[in-house]
């Protein structure tokens, strides 16, 4: 397999190392040994040594959510996410993607989203229409919010309206490339999609990125792939926190006591941990789960639910269990995809809320 020398080095370091065994949200949910960084590394190393075929490990390669918990916990800096993504790219180049991944990739290329959707819901279309006019600020809603959790996309619009922000929403928003990046890594198709999205964003002074996954890709991965964004890009949470700080967004005490689910894209990749907390504290009392901030445990997403829904449900249920363990009755998340995942696994004794839910009451 044609992996970079750096990836090969990381594979050969991780294949016999168990130190991050405890931290993988997928592994903890399934209890399956293959759902570990070392198992993936071992599989890849055996492919590299011609002991097994690439096609025999590809299901397992797609069981990684790329949350980076293993990378974060490794004191020597080995990076299983890097070699996992490179292996995905290699499989794509060799035509060895599993069929269910091929379908998702084709949807991304043909329809701009992995789910194959062509229409957004009426309420969102209507809400977006009110912001069709070109302004200096673009609210980028992202694929998951637009096509799968449109009520939350509408709420994101309402939050900015509540603060009297002048902003635009695109009826035909381009895909950020985040889904293709997850599915096939640094493929030309992913880079082309990113470049097209960058062109659109560059027509604005400021782009407020609603989905933390898009934010991570636009603010970090674009640079790695040489895609330039000249517009100022800010996360939705940091933008809203600033609105509160400036007194532009009025706050009310909801009397709720909540815990916060840090999206790893914000806390680990973008080092944004306090802005969402400032928002929450303006509306509720905040307690902390044991694993918080950059030690957060991922709670599932919509893309992987397309091919492993039962596991996503278990991943979310385990995070809700973490909240229950400290007596929490409400859990707030700032990631629309995690929100959908948690909501699906919601239990009667722990309420799942988005940041927008909390703000809008």
């Amino acid at each position: 397999m044609n992996l970079s020398e750096k990836s090969k080095q990381h594979v050969d370091s991780c294949r016999f190392c168990w130190m991050c065994h405890h931290i993988c949200p997928i592994g903890n949910a399934t209890g399956h040994e293959r759902s570990t960084a070392r198992a993936r590394a071992l599989g890849i190393s055996l492919v590299n040594r011609n002991a097994i075929d690439l096609s025999e490990i590809m299901d397992n390669i797609y069981e990684c959510c790329t949350c980076g918990a293993c990378v974060h916990t490794c004191v020597t800096g080995w990076d299983p996410v890097m070699f996992t993504k490179e292996t995905r790219l290699q499989a794509a180049l060799e035509g060895k993607l599993p069929s269910y991944i091929n379908t998702l990739v084709d949807n991304c290329l043909d329809k701009g989203n992995a789910y194959g959707k062509t229409e957004i819901c009426e309420k969102l279309a209507e809400a977006a229409k009110a912001h069709a006019k070109k302004t200096d600020t673009l609210l980028l809603l992202g694929t998951d919010a637009r096509y799968m959790v449109c009520e939350q996309a509408v709420k994101a619009i309402r939050v900015l309206e509540k603060a009297n922000v002048e902003f635009s929403v695109l009826a035909d928003e381009p895909a950020s490339g985040a889904q293709l990046d997850f599915l096939i890594g640094a493929a030309d198709e992913a880079k082309q999609q990113m470049a097209a999205a960058a062109d659109v964003m560059n027509a604005y002074d400021t782009v407020v990125i609603y989905d933390p996954n898009d934010a991570k890709v636009i603010k970090r991965i674009y640079k790695e792939y040489g895609v330039d964004v000249s517009a100022k890009t800010v996360t939705f949470t940091s933008y809203v926190a600033e609105l509160i700080k400036n007194g532009d967004l009025k706050t009310t005490n909801t009397e709720k006591t909540v815990v916060y689910q840090d999206p790893y894209q914000l806390s680990r990749d973008l080092e944004e941990t306090e802005e969402p907390r400032e928002i929450i504290k303006a509306f509720a009392t905040l307690n902390e789960m044991l694993l918080n901030r950059d030690e957060t445990v991922w709670a599932g997403n919509l893309l992987m639910a397309e091919y492993m829904p039962a596991v996503m449900n278990e991943v979310a249920a385990r995070r809700i269990f973490n909240a229950k363990s400290i007596g929490a009755t409400a859990l707030v998340t700032a990631c629309v995809s995690e929100y959908a995942s948690l909501k699906k696994a919601e239990q009667t004794d722990v309420e799942i809320l988005s940041i927008e839910d909390l703000i809008l009451g």
């Binding site: 370091s13 991780c14 294949r15 016999f16 190392c17 168990w18 130190m19 991050c20 065994h21 405890h22 931290i23 592994g27 903890n28 399934t30 209890g31 399956h32 040994e33 293959r34 570990t36 198992a39 071992l42 599989g43 190393s45 055996l46 040594r49 011609n50 002991a51 097994i52 025999e56 490990i57 299901d59 397992n60 916990t73 490794c74 004191v75 020597t76 080995w78 044991l290 694993l291 039962a310 363990s325 400290i326």
Partner: protein
């Protein structure tokens, strides 16, 4: 499988197992087979590194509780299929490798934390729980498990029990076999039993201690009540440098008659000059020793005074708290790739334990045996678990990659020879086959040399409990 099986019968058995644990928890996929064929055992790693496939299980099952384990065991017994239990695969002795094929039973779905009991001071959990997870559960209520091995994050509760593991604060809080109250065990015939409700009693022999260390050869431990402790008010560290090992042993022995520190680790001059220099930053000749003492603040004050007075008598240089604290912070760093030995090197830890009158003699005997017979090997050691009566030696041999045969069978031969030589030297001077990594397939052949006719006790248990010999065959020397 041990015997030739036709596709029809294999498919029949597979459907029975799927019925027992659920189809999604029953696998014949290549990735599951190879993943469960390589554990932390050097030989399995070398084998995979050479592009060879280790012996693999035919079917991997992941039961969620004792009831499902019982079903699996009954199926295995009926068809006389080998059944090997796998925790997280962090073992160094090859104990979890399915060398005879058959069924591999992965315990990690049995990871439920049933109860955090702060009155009885225990956590009841499935043995598939990663130990770090029960530490987190303890921390959430302000307690701690006080079981902190380097493999804390990568081994299960069951894995530690099966191989009699130990953590870095063992001198004060004990070994894993001191940390269990009650256990649930599935016997080889599928019966589910519970050990006594308290670990100290006069109701006959201790059932816990029959199954702890049995490596899945006598049954499968499915649930355990693990002790938790109050967090210490204060934990202090002190580093010392001894001119020679003998003085250090005398100082440690005397100290342990007075009180029990939590951490005591004595590094021989070779390991002080290598690992301790690299990780902790001590750049001095001699034997470095780190001591931690903890608990109620007033008692810690007194213990510190006793420690300093005792070690001074034996010429130890007090290096203050900095190095000890650094060691504590980095105690797991030693084991990450880049810091730890790794392929292409050949290496192994031949830990053994003995009373004070013998342990230093064992160290020198093993060092001489290894260095004389295998001049290409480097020998380093530390002494990390201490008792009022003795201590264990964690001695390691390391052979540079250039001196390790590329041919896997030749590399296996060399590995076996070094191990046999080192452990026999330990046995000859009053040591035991192993202190806290277990026996597995690596050391099974040496069990009879240690126990002699006493092996018939283990063999009798095995024959009675597992008459078909299906439970983790070729491990533990039985």
């Amino acid at each position: 499988m041990q015997y030739q099986m036709n596709e029809f019968l294999f498919s029949m058995i597979l459907t029975e197992l799927e019925d027992a644990v659920g189809k999604e928890n029953c696998s014949t996929r290549t990735i599951d087979k190879v993943t469960h064929s390589v554990d932390y055992y050097w030989l399995s790693r070398m084998w995979a590194d050479r592009g060879c496939r280790m012996p693999e299980a035919d079917i991997i099952v992941c039961p969620k509780d004792a009831t499902e384990v019982s079903k699996v065991v009954k199926i295995a017994n009926y068809y006389k299929l080998p059944i090997t239990t796998w925790g997280a695969g962090g073992g160094t002795q090859g104990g979890a490798i399915p060398v005879a094929g058959g069924i591999l039973l992965d315990t990690k779905r049995m990871n439920k934390i049933y109860e955090v009991n702060t009155e009885g001071m225990y956590i009841e959990c499935g043995t598939g729980a990663i130990y770090k997870h029960i530490e987190w559960a303890a921390n959430e209520v302000g307690k701690a498990t006080m079981h902190y091995p380097s493999s804390l994050t990568c081994s299960t509760v069951g894995g530690f029990l099966a191989h009699r593991g130990i953590g870095v604060v063992s001198t004060k809080y004990g070994k894993i076999d001191d940390m269990v109250l009650q256990m649930e065990v599935v016997l080889p015939n599928g019966d589910i039993i519970n050990t006594s409700s308290a670990p100290k009693h006069a109701a006959g022999p201790d059932l816990n201690q029959i199954f702890i260390g049995s490596e899945g050869a006598l049954g499968i431990i499915t649930k355990a009540q693990i002790r938790i402790f109050d967090q210490p008010e204060e934990r202090r560290f002190r580093g010392f440098l001894f001119h020679d090992m003998s003085s250090a042993f005398k100082a440690a022995r005397e100290l342990l008659q007075k009180f029990k520190p939590s951490v005591m680790r004595l590094y021989d001059p070779a390991e002080t000059a290598s690992l301790i220099k690299k990780i902790v930053g001590v750049e001095r000749d001699g034997a470095f020793m780190n001591v931690a003492y903890e608990g109620v603040r007033e008692m810690v004050e007194v213990e510190e005074k006793i420690l300093l007075e005792t070690f001074k008598k034996y010429g130890a240089e007090d290096m203050g708290s900095e190095y000890g604290k650094k060691w504590w912070d980095e105690k797991i760093t030693f084991f990450y790739p880049g810091h730890m030995m790794d392929i292409p090197q050949m290496f192994g830890t031949m830990d053994t334990i003995a009373p004070y009158g013998k342990i230093e003699e064992i160290y020198w005997a093993m060092k001489e045996a290894i260095e004389t017979n295998f001049p290409q090997a480097k020998f380093i050691a530390h002494f990390s678990h201490w008792y009022e009566w003795g201590a264990m030696v964690y001695d390691r041999f390391i052979i540079d990659g250039k001196d390790v045969p590329q041919d896997p069978v030749e590399a296996l031969r060399l590995h076996q020879a070094v191990w046999t030589c080192g452990v026999r030297a330990a046995l000859a001077h009053g040591g035991v086959v192993n202190d806290h990594h277990g026996v597995g397939i690596k050391l099974g052949r040496l069990m009879k040399e240690q126990y002699g006719p006493a092996m018939q006790v283990f063999e009798g248990l095995k024959k009675q409990l597992d008459p078909n010999g299906i439970m983790n065959p070729f491990k533990l020397g039985i």
